[in-house]
Structure formats: structure tokens, C-alpha cells
């Protein structure tokens, strides 16, 4: 009966109570949403690459190497010579090695040159393989396999011709050597979705007439080297951007890493993807903590708002308290009534916040995916989220003790007869 009366009392003040509940709901949705994005981003990053034991590139920072080679964020400081690549490939510990060559782009998407082995060796989310949903892999020199997002964003189908631009965000196109979309990789939720994959030889081919990052004499202004001539050329690259390496036995990883890092012919860097990710989290961790702290403060602010709302309503409710007292309610009942109201408001806010969160996720999921390549999973809520909701309700109960204790004292001092 007391719960029913508390609920009715709240309903009678629907506007202020509604706004308070909404404030709590938004703060809860924000707090949980940030947590979702945070864990989603981590999971998405962690799921991007698996099965690769080492990433080798020019010596720079391990995080930078990871970012440009796997996530296509930023650029390499230098290349790895083909000779060094061959030396690494020849090591007895190496089970497989896949070269990647970056630097060109198609519209807003990066172009990556690699070998067909990439499709066999690249794994994501546990041990999943890339699946070419439509078309086939790289068979011809001018074949391109595009990621699902590339196909969707640019409306490409198998057989369409595409022209690769030189560099990233450049105005110079390799329009003398158009590619053909040979296949489309099924959605993976990784940067592969936003990549145009061509063969390593193709990268070499489109740069035949280019020198030092520019069009050489005899380039577009003069007669370009005929495609037939190019096809007949030895298109072994002189350098690549990075290489993904798998070892025979996991115990050999550190030995090989040391060997690469000590390689005397060229300054190279080998990193373990998992370790580099950990380093990345250490850097990002501070910002994450700040973000969680700020969203936590928003929840606290909403609860303080609720406390102020209850406090300001106390004066006009003294008559109501006097009725409760006259009917035999103890001051402790008055106290628990107000705490109960706060708990009901916080619980409603928490539930509404939860619903807002999932509605928001549902709406934001494709947007996040398109904008950041971040796939936020809409999964069943886990225990931690329920714990957060419980903590919000508990905090509301504690916060409501301030107005509740005031009501307790008022009801003792007022006696039965409040004159209004």
C-alpha cells in the first residue's frame, strides 16, 4: 500500500518527477553508452587481427606500426626493402609471411597491395577467415578485391572498373591502368571492409612510369608504357610497407622478434600485435578513465538534481506529512516514504536509461560503423550493467536520505497541525 501511495504521489507530480527521471535516464544511458563504446572499441580493435604472431615494418614505434599496418591509421615512416623481406621469409622459424604495401588510395579508401596468401592467413575475431562473398580473388594483375564498406559506399559490383589514386588524398590518378573489381569480401567489422586489396605486383605496375613520388618523363604528358609491356615486366617490388608473420611454434616468436629488431642491414621493428594493442590501451586508458569519470559525474549531477527536487517539494508537502503522522505513521515511515520515492524514481530512470541506451545503440550502430569502422555489438546486458543500475538506485537512496532526514525532523517539529 505504501509503495502504491508513493507511486501515486509521484504521478501527481508528473512533470517535475518526469524531468528528474529523464535526467537520471539520460545520465545512465550516457554512462553505460560510454562503457559500451569503450568496450566495443577495445573488442573491435582486439578482434581486428588474430593468428598473426608478428608484424614487421620499418623501425618506428610499435603502436604506430600496428596502427598503419593493421588499422590503416597514419602512415609508415619508411619502407622495408624486398631483400630484408626475403631474409625474414627465409628464417627457419617463419611458417608464413604476407607482405603488405600501402600508400595509394581509391576515393576515401586505402589501397593495399599484398599476395593472395593474405586471404588465407589474415584472421579476425577469434579465428575467422576472410570470405569473398561475390566474385573471386586476385587472379589477374589488374584485379581488385574490395571490402564490404567500399562496395556499399561506392555502389560497386563485381566487374566494375576503378581507378587508384596516387598517395592518400591526392589529385593524381593512375587512370592509365584501371582495375577491375574481381571480388567483394563479406563484412568483417575490421579495416579490411574499408580497403581495396590488389596484388603486390599491381602496386609496382601502376608506378612503372613514376619516380620519386611523381610522374616521370614520358608519364601522362607523354606516351605511357603500354599495359602489355608492363605485364611482361618483372614486377617484383623493391620495397614493401610491412609484413605479417606467422611462426612455426609460438615459443619462437620472441627469438624471431629479437632477430628482426637486431637486423643489421636495415633498421626494422617486429611487434606482437597483442602487446602493441596493450601499449595503445595504456595511452588511450587515461582518456578513457577521464571519459568514464565525466559520465559518472553526470550521473551524480542527475542524482543531486533529484535530491534538490525532493528537498524543494518538502515545504509544500508538510501538510501531507502531517496527515501521515496523524494516521499513525512513525517519523521513520515518513523517512522511508521519501527514500522509497527516490528509489522508484531512480529505478524508473535506470530502466528508461537502459531502454534509451539500446535504442541509441540500434540507431548509432550503422553510423559508428560507417564513421569509425567500429561495430558496437547489441548484446544482452551483462551483470556489470545491472550492477551499475543497482548502484545508481542505491546512490539515489543514499542521496534521498538528506531530504528524508529533513522531513523526519519537520514531522517531529510540526506535530499534527500544520497551518497552511
Amino acid at each position: 500500500m505504501i509503495l502504491r501511495l508513493a507511486t501515486r504521489s509521484l504521478m501527481a507530480r508528473a512533470l517535475t518527477v518526469g524531468l528528474t527521471v529523464l535526467a537520471i535516464a539520460l545520465s545512465v544511458a550516457l554512462f553505460l553508452g560510454i562503457e559500451k563504446v569503450r568496450t566495443g572499441a577495445r573488442a573491435s580493435f582486439a578482434d581486428t587481427i588474430s593468428g598473426t604472431d608478428l608484424i614487421v615494418g620499418a623501425r618506428s614505434g610499435s603502436v604506430q606500426l600496428l596502427l598503419y599496418s593493421v588499422f590503416r591509421i597514419g602512415n609508415a615512416t619508411n619502407n622495408v626493402t624486398w631483400d630484408s623481406y626475403q631474409d625474414i621469409a627465409a628464417r627457419p622459424e617463419v611458417d608464413w609471411i604476407v607482405p603488405i604495401s600501402l600508400g595509394d588510395s581509391h576515393r576515401q579508401f586505402r589501397v593495399m597491395g599484398t599476395t593472395p596468401a593474405f586471404f588465407d592467413r589474415y584472421k579476425y575475431r577469434g579465428d575467422r577467415d576472410l570470405v569473398i562473398g561475390e566474385g573471386a580473388g586476385l587472379n589477374d594483375l589488374y584485379d581488385a578485391v574490395i571490402g564490404a564498406d567500399v562496395a556499399q559506399a561506392l555502389g560497386y559490383a563485381v566487374g566494375d572498373a576503378i581507378v587508384v589514386s596516387h598517395g592518400v588524398a591526392s589529385f593524381t590518378d593512375h587512370d592509365d591502368q584501371p582495375f577491375r573489381v574481381a571480388g567483394i569480401v563479406e563484412k568483417t567489422g575490421t579495416p579490411v571492409d574499408r580497403t581495396v586489396i590488389v596484388s603486390l605486383e599491381a602496386i609496382e605496375a601502376i608506378h612503372v612510369d613514376w619516380q620519386q613520388g611523381g610522374v616521370a618523363l614520358g608519364g601522362p604528358a607523354g606516351p605511357a608504357t603500354p599495359v602489355e609491356t608492363i605485364r611482361a615486366m618483372d614486377l617484383t617490388p623493391s620495397a614493401i610497407t610491412a609484413a605479417l608473420v606467422g611462426v612455426d611454434q609460438r615459443t619462437q616468436i620472441f627469438g624471431l622478434q629479437r632477430w628482426v629488431n637486431d637486423y643489421s642491414q636495415e633498421p626494422l621493428l617486429a611487434v606482437l600485435p597483442g602487446v602493441a594493442l596493450q601499449e595503445l590501451w595504456q595511452i588511450v586508458g587515461v582518456a578513457e578513465t577521464a571519459l568514464v569519470a565525466v559520465s559518472g559525474m553526470v550521473v551524480v549531477t542527475a542524482l543531486l538534481g533529484m535530491m534538490a527536487m525532493i528537498l524543494s517539494s518538502l515545504n509544500e508537502r508538510r501538510r501531507e506529512m502531517a496527515i501521515w503522522r496523524a494516521m499513525g505513521a512513525r517519523p521513520a515511515t515518513i523517512l522511508s516514504l521519501l527514500v522509497l520515492e527516490a528509489v522508484v524514481m531512480a529505478a524508473l530512470g535506470a530502466i528508461l536509461g537502459f531502454m534509451l541506451l539500446y535504442a541509441g545503440l540500434w540507431i548509432a550502430q550503422p553510423l559508428f560503423d560507417a564513421a569509425f569502422g567500429l561495430w558496437l555489438p547489441i548484446a544482452a546486458p551483462h551483470a556489470q550493467e545491472f550492477a551499475v543500475l543497482g548502484a545508481v538506485v542505491l546512490a539515489a537512496a543514499v542521496a534521498s536520505l538528506v531530504p528524508a532526514l529533513r522531513a523526519y525532523r519537520l514531522s517531529l517539529a510540526d506535530g499534527m497541525m500544520v497551518k497552511i
Binding site: M1, I2, R4, L5, R8, S9, M11, A12, R319, E320, I323, W324, R325, A326, M327, G328, A329, R330, P331, A332, T333, G415, M416, M417, K419, I420
Partner: protein
């Protein structure tokens, strides 16, 4: 000899920190089933006296005995329970929780008074008793489900009477329950109140400043005759 419904003996009380307002009542008694009109002007200590009688504030020296029980001997929680069990209260106005239904308002004191609830349920279920009392005091059948805030003042006062009478508490305390009603409604209201009071056998202590009500009561007492309100140094 049965104990009086209410007995005040050498009662003294001072509100802490309120301009030194104090109240003394050397001797006053109300018999079982007796109806007494207590006449007094505003500021004469009526509200304080009623709070003391109901045990909402604890008296200092002296005694408040209700049906033989000394309220001063009870702890605060027990006093609240005792009030719920033994005293029906009717205010001047704003008697009801406006957001609650009429039924919830009537049942509210029973929530804190299990014995009174058991008495109310004797004739069947509690709701049957609520319906019976509502009908007896002239309230429509469908009123119990309506929110109290939507009733007219006269209806609200009658609901307050039903709430005071349910479960037959031996003492009804009323604080100018007719002052918010017009003359015609006042008369009808009092007739219904007294009718139900006699049926329940409860004693009534009604505070008012309206002497015209006196003929309905067994006895009329002027507050100034039983209570002094000396101003003590703050």
C-alpha cells in the same frame, strides 16, 4: 469503574524554541462515548493540545491518559501505534492525501493499526466496511475508487469522518471539521457524524470557535477554563 476515554492531569508542555509558548492543563476528562465541544479562539493552544492528546508530541510533566493508558509511558513508536489503534482524527480541511484514492485514504490508519484493521474486517472484508460507512454517511457507491483530490470539500470531510470511524477507535479528535463548510452543509455533516458516532460508541472531542454547535454535544468546555498558556521567557 471504567477509565475515561481521555484524561489530562497536570499537563505541562513548552515548544522548544518557539517564543517560549507553553501550555498547562491541570485537569480535564472525557468519558467513554461522551461528546465534548471545546471552544477556543485561535492561538489559544488548541493545536498544541490536540497534538499532545494524539501523542504526536510528547508531554513534559503530567499525564495524558487515553482509555487508561499513559501516553508518556510509551516510547515514541508505541505512541504512534497507539494513536493509529485508538484515535480517529478529523482536521479542519485538507484531510486527505489528494493523489490517493478515497479507499486508500480511508484504509491508511489501518495500515499502522492491525487490531483496528481486524475490527474493521469483522463484518466481512475491510472494503465492505468502507462501503457500509460511506453509504451510511451519504457518499455515493463509486466514490471509493476516485482520487480524493477530485472530491468537493464537503465530500472530503465526510471521507475524513469515515476514515476516523473505521475500525471503531474509542476516541475521535476533530479540529474544527465544519469550518470549511457552509451552514446548511455543516448541519447535515454534524447530523451524519453524530449518527455514526453513537453507532460506534466513540467519544468525541471537537475543537471549534463556533458556539452555535453546542446544543449537539453532551458538554461544552471553554479552552480557557481548562488550559492556561503562560508566555515563559524564551
Amino acid at each position: 469503574m471504567t477509565d475515561p476515554a481521555l484524561a489530562l492531569t497536570d499537563l505541562r508542555f513548552a515548544w522548544p524554541g518557539r517564543d517560549g509558548f507553553a501550555l498547562r492543563c491541570p485537569d480535564f476528562a472525557l468519558g467513554q462515548g461522551e461528546t465534548v465541544l471545546l471552544l477556543g479562539e485561535s492561538g489559544s493552544g488548541k493545536s498544541t493540545l490536540l497534538s499532545l492528546i494524539c501523542g504526536i508530541v510528547a508531554a513534559g510533566p503530567g499525564q495524558v491518559r487515553i482509555g487508561g493508558t499513559d501516553l508518556g509511558a510509551l516510547r515514541a513508536g508505541a505512541r504512534d501505534r497507539f494513536r493509529a489503534e485508538g484515535i480517529g482524527v478529523i482536521f479542519q480541511q485538507f484531510n486527505l492525501l489528494p493523489y490517493a484514492s478515497v479507499a486508500d485514504n480511508i484504509l491508511l490508519p489501518l495500515r499502522f493499526a492491525p487490531q483496528r484493521r481486524a475490527r474493521a474486517a469483522k463484518g466481512g472484508c475491510v472494503m465492505a466496511e468502507v462501503q457500509r460507512l460511506c453509504a451510511a454517511i451519504g457518499l455515493p457507491d463509486d466514490i471509493v475508487t476516485r482520487p480524493a483530490g477530485r472530491l468537493s470539500v464537503g465530500q472530503q470531510q465526510r471521507v475524513a469522518v469515515v476514515r476516523a470511524l473505521i475500525g471503531q477507535p474509542p476516541l475521535i479528535v476533530a479540529d474544527e471539521p465544519t469550518s470549511a463548510l457552509d451552514a446548511a452543509t455543516q448541519d447535515a455533516f454534524l447530523a451524519l457524524l453524530f449518527g455514526q458516532l453513537r453507532a460506534a460508541g466513540a467519544a468525541l472531542l471537537m475543537v471549534s470557535h463556533d458556539e452555535r454547535l453546542a446544543p449537539r454535544f453532551d458538554r461544552t468546555v471553554h479552552l480557557r477554563d481548562i488550559v492556561t498558556t503562560p508566555r515563559v521567557a524564551a
